[in-house]
Symmetry: C2
């Protein structure tokens, strides 16, 4: 079986994910608007086709890796969307991080045309996309999941099927709540440490092995201490995810007071021009609101 995979969305994440599929020997079709990307991937074995129409017509499986719900809706269901061209029995795997409500909407339209669908957002940034060590959380029918498992395993090191369509993105939202608030926790803690004139390097060493230890502390504390906020995962994108969280929580009557607060903080950072920085730059908000005048009481 020579399975043909169409890959749509060859950005910071999509391109290295696609490269891992090429390395594993998959027959990949692409049609990027970026000719550099087409050239680069073509040299690695991808076939460049002239349009999404053609890509959709010849692929058995189509992977989308796009910024947010509107782009995914447009590419799949839009006027020029691939729904118009894909054959019955094709599987679309949307690996974008979007609203689970939108995933369900897309599924309900596709299934009427006998097109299978998985929502399969990933966690982990560009380095993990390159190494093929992303985590993917998948929603969709069990048999479709099993059919696509080898493809997913080629790009990731952890694959968990969460349930029906929508549950992949639902899990991703849960993940993004924890990540955002854990960064805020480290940020408030480190800003207070600085105000107290405590060496943050020593703080990190003293607390990382205990209950305050986390993947966020290990990856973001050094960025904060070294003032290196190159993304990584951009504040803009995290805000997008938290907007999806809050839409969902409103639909479900589930107040999330702290997530709501950190969303407001992300908005404030975007307004201040920090949207393209890594989400470790959340610390800047707390630094801005802290007084530059340090009370000498604790310092002496």
């Amino acid at each position: 079986m020579t399975m043909k995979i169409g890959f749509i969305g060859l950005g910071i994440m999509g391109k290295p994910m696609c490269k891992n599929l090429l390395k594993a020997g998959y027959d990949i079709k692409i049609s990027s608007r970026n000719s550099e990307t087409n050239k680069e991937l073509n040299e690695l074995g991808a076939e460049v086709v002239s349009s999404l129409k053609q890509l959709a017509e010849i692929s058995d499986t189509i992977i989308t890796m796009l910024p947010n719900s509107p782009e995914v809706l447009d590419v799949i269901l839009g006027k020029e969307g691939i729904i118009n061209w894909v054959r019955r029995g094709t599987t679309i795997i949307d690996m974008s991080s979007i609203s689970p409500i939108v995933s369900k909407e897309i599924y309900s339209v596709l299934i009427k045309k006998d097109i299978d669908f998985l929502d399969a957002p990933v966690s982990g940034g560009e380095p993990k996309a390159i190494d093929g060590t992303l985590s993917v959380m998948v929603g969709g029918k069990e048999e479709i999941f099993h059919k696509c498992l080898p493809i997913l395993e080629t790009m990731t090191s952890s694959v968990v099927r969460m349930g029906k369509v929508g549950s992949g993105n639902a899990t991703k939202l849960v993940n993004q709540i924890i990540v955002a608030l854990n960064i805020a926790a480290v940020s408030e803690a480190f800003v207070l440490a600085q105000s107290m004139k405590i060496d943050t390097e020593l703080v990190y060493r003293a607390i990382r092995g205990g209950l305050a230890g986390s993947a966020v502390l290990d990856s973001k504390a050094p960025m904060i201490m070294n003032r290196d906020f190159r993304a990584g995962f951009k504040i803009n994108l995290h805000l997008k995810d938290l907007n999806n969280v809050m839409d969902t929580s409103e639909n479900l009557n589930t107040p999330l007071p702290l997530t709501s607060s950190i969303r407001e903080i992300l908005k404030s950072l975007v307004i201040d021009g920090d949207g393209y920085e890594d989400h470790a730059a959340i610390v800047k908000y707390f630094e801005k609101v802290a007084s530059t005048e340090v009370n000498p009481k604790l310092v002496k």
Copy 2:
């Protein structure tokens, strides 16, 4: 050298810490108001003396492990405090988690009488106190720290000197901010997962290896899923720590909006009678504010 150590504060944490000193062969003096505790530790080799006065007079080093600032102030500097009885050159190691401002106050009084002082709060609960695997963060003069290091190492597996007196408790406050907010993060995330009808066990498995992973997730998510909120570390005590955090942040003009929110949540839980539960019970607050009526939009 037969160093005599007086140990004051033989509660949930202090008793197992004292036992580890006895096991290591230290000459321990105690004078608990609890005769059961005196009996138990006497059988392990501790000498029970008749009063704190006597304990203070015969000890070279005195360890205090008490609930909060007022108790520490009372035992050390109060009318009947040990300051009245200890000899010049004695070292007092306060291992309680209290306000760093109070640690500095105590130090400034003791040093005038040639009594040395370290603030050395620990992180980790009763099981780590029993195993001798607590983390301790120490403030105080370097030579005093080195003199006391073998004693501290007997009760802990990580010892870091943070700086001058007060810096131990300052670091503990930093630690408690992160722990409280990381629990809140897991709590909001899990409550949303439940509203979305996603299996929290699968969520835990899908996200724990990624950027959402943390010591809090690993230790508290199972407690939340199993509805097992036996302390562990009580909400009452975490509220005490966050009160010390907010007092300090006010002194330093360092606003901590999220820490302030989680403190209010802890207050609400204490009012509702949950103060003696483990801090994993923070999740109960978010469950209470969430609607019991689930919007069917995302569930079907």
